[in-house]
Amino acid sequence: MPDRPPVPPVLALHRVSKSFGAVRALHEVSLELFAGEAHALAGENGAGKSTLVKILSGLHRPDAGRILLDGEPAEFHGPADAQRAGVAVIYQEPTLFPDLSVTENIFMGRQPRARFGRIDRPAARRRAAALFAGLGVQLDPDQPARGLSIADQQLVEIAKALSRDARVLIMDEPTAALSGNEVARLFGVVEALRARGCAVLFVSHRLEEIFELCRRVTTLRDGAFVSGDLIADMTPDDLVRRMVGREPEALFPKLDTVPGQVALAVRRLTREGVFTDVSFEVRAGEVVALAGLVGAGRSEVARAVFGVDRPDAGRVEVGGRRLRPASPSAAMAAGLALVPEDRRQQGLIMDLSIERNIALAGLPAVRRGPLISRAAERARAHDWAVRLRLKFARLADPVGVLSGGNQQKVVLAKWLARKPSVLIVDEPTRGIDVGTKAEVHRLLSELAAGGVAVLMISSELPEVLGMADRVLVMHEGRLVADIPRAEATEESVMAAATGRGAA
């Protein structure tokens, strides 16, 4: 089997790097896409897959390295350049004009013209029908886009790309929202595209899909290029090893604790279409990690447990008492705290001062009679600011002026000041620097040692393996594994998270 076809790749990246501020998103990554081949892009959350896709589609410009088009250096100054070069991206959830027909969506902005500049509707319709026939799918060109399934919307996007003579199709996790039959149909379409000579870049978390569909795979880890392989030469386990590939770092000072009573019990919790039949317990003094891929439903479970969203079925018990559903205030009264995923949008009110943000979750505690005591409010904020070593100028400053790590400390202070018995933290160290990260880990560990039940959602495997007494793994809305600390490895967690069952 020849490793390299004689023609140059249609589109290639050569030692491309990209940083955002101090964060290195991609470092010297190379990738070659050949005509008539499906190529997989694999890697954990945050490995740099999205950044790479955005560079290929012209949304980001690389800091260093080259983009090669048919072997010739090319520069994409914007998405329009990439489109002109024949690169099209099919996103997980396409954005069509819902009130226009399928045909109108395909030819938006480039409608075939009849005399006097009128749109030639019959011609457009014929061409749309021909495109679908070529892909081997049945879709009514006159149907409005509203009401199409996500799978059908993707097909419309693919047809749109082909109508522009796209030679490279990038599919960014196209199967994440599709059912089994729809995936099979999409694979048929990808085959048809390959047969037409298109190069397909397929980004997916599902290993079995990569092995079924693709000829080559490029693996990224922490923004760096790991390897480019022929699928035929490797096993799924090889791929997982390339994706995770590191030893757990000694950054995570988890203290040993003896678990106490069950503090949080989640029983058969379901939110239709989001997660199904999720049951687990967290004991006092335990740190339980909730692992899984992005979109597996972890944050959604946390939101439902805390009452931000209303579950369709199931219940939550805190300290043995059933919680009123869909009420954050009831959850808080029962001793629950949630440090949410998106601190700018969910965790903090950016215009409000540090002290008012911290007090917001504990207004009754800073009340004297019917009025708020500013002194009590400041004391509460100051107490926790010092304990968490918050770097600030004045507590009356808006929280928006702080750095990301310090903002996260304010969110933690806001909730820890309530002295919760159950603390849920969702991506507690996302986007914060290494030093603050270690502080947060030590804090969580100390809280657990002090008898708090900690449920930690994290996409960083080293953090999960370093901190957790137990690892719960979610895959596509279901809890698929409960792995004790001793058996939790990067491989066992990733295997469960990618749906291959606990190894």
Binding site: F306, L338, Q346, R356, S403
Partner: protein
């Protein structure tokens, strides 16, 4: 004047906050200046009876502006207040004609107003509709209902005990102004010194984060609309007794004056920012301008023009600062952070 304020706002580190703080200062300076100018240059302005009339004339706007301030800080709006006032007037006239005691009618009116607010509140919080659309709808609905109830008749034979009370004054200060002062103190305390007030600011600035912090967003919004309706009904009682006339078209167009005062007072139309003292000063400022222009025999059209100008300026000025910042700092979030 607004342009100056916006121009200076680009420099400081916390431009929006400073502008807001300075904005209230600006309104105060404007209020004092206009008052002094009117006292010196407009015949008949600076005497006890005119001051008394001026204060009395702003009563209804002030009453409705109190709750409107809370509603707008919560990032909602209630455009149906003047129609609620009209409906309450119509109910009063209708029940009075039917022979009910006025002491019984007044609480019924307040209840009517509260009910109108509750309907707005349910539509906004339970059905998740935008309050702008909902209250434009009920703006027409409540006014229409007022005409259905009372037609085009004017009920004028109201008890003198109450009509007299509405125009009663202590020195130059009308009794109604005392009522406004008491309720304003209450509203200012709620907004600026209680947990509820903190929650209103929080949910106005970021509803999602407030929800995550356990703030009962929907419940608070619902009761704000109820309070807004009740306050409009209270204003309707003052209005009816003051003019000794209950008509379905009482207070037509007042909602614009109320919203103008709230925005001119420095409350952000996007919610989360503003102070009650600022709004009260803006109510007075608009009242003084109006009163002085009427005394100076300026045509009514010019009057509306001036009010409109002040309103546009008040909405534009804080945003001029934001537009400037956006141009100079393409990524404000990164530019602002202090490591």
């Amino acid at each position: 004047m607004p342009r100056e304020a916006a121009g200076g706002a680009a420099a400081p580190r916390d431009p929006a906050g400073r502008l807001i703080r300075r904005w209230e200062g600006l309104i105060l300076v404007l209020l004092v200046t206009v008052t002094l100018w009117a006292s010196a240059g407009v015949d008949g302005f600076a005497n006890a009876s005119n001051v008394s009339f001026l204060l009395l004339d702003t009563t209804e706007i002030a009453l409705m502006a109190l709750t409107m301030t809370l509603v707008v800080v919560a990032a909602e709006i209630d455009l149906s207040v003047a129609s609620t006032l009209g409906l309450s007037c119509a109910v009063l006239g209708w029940l009075w004609n039917a022979g009910l005691a006025i002491e019984l009618i007044m609480p019924i009116c307040l209840l009517t107003g509260a009910l109108c607010g509750a309907v707005n509140g349910v539509l906004v919080t339970r059905l998740g509709l935008p309050s702008l659309a909902v209250t434009i709808g009920t703006f027409a609905l409540y006014r229409g209902l007022a005409y259905v109830i009372l037609g085009d008749q004017a009920v004028a034979d109201l008890p003198p005990a109450y009509t007299g009370l509405a125009t009663q004054t202590f020195g130059p200060v009308p009794l109604a102004t005392v009522l406004v002062a008491v309720l304003a103190a209450l509203a200012a305390t709620v907004l600026h010194a209680t947990g509820l007030g903190r929650s209103i600011f929080a949910l106005g600035a970021n509803e999602e984060a407030a929800h995550f912090a356990g703030v009962r967003v929907k419940r608070i919004k619902f009761w704000l609309f109820v309070a807004s309706g009740a306050c409009a009904a209270l204003a309707s009682l003052v209005y009816t007794f003051r003019y000794a006339s209950a008509r379905a078209d009482n207070g037509v167009g007042l909602e614009l004056a109320v919203v103008a005062a709230v925005l001119l007072g420095g409350v952000s139309i996007f919610g989360g920012r503003g102070t009650l003292p600022g709004v009260l000063m803006a109510v007075l400022l608009l009242g003084v301008v109006r009163n002085a222009l009427i005394l100076a025999d300026v045509a009514n059209e010019v009057l509306n023009f001036v009010t409109g100008l002040l309103l546009v300026a008040s909405v534009l000025a804080p945003n001029l600062g934001a537009i400037r910042r956006r141009r100079h700092l393409p990524t404000p979030s990164e530019g602002k952070s202090v490591p």
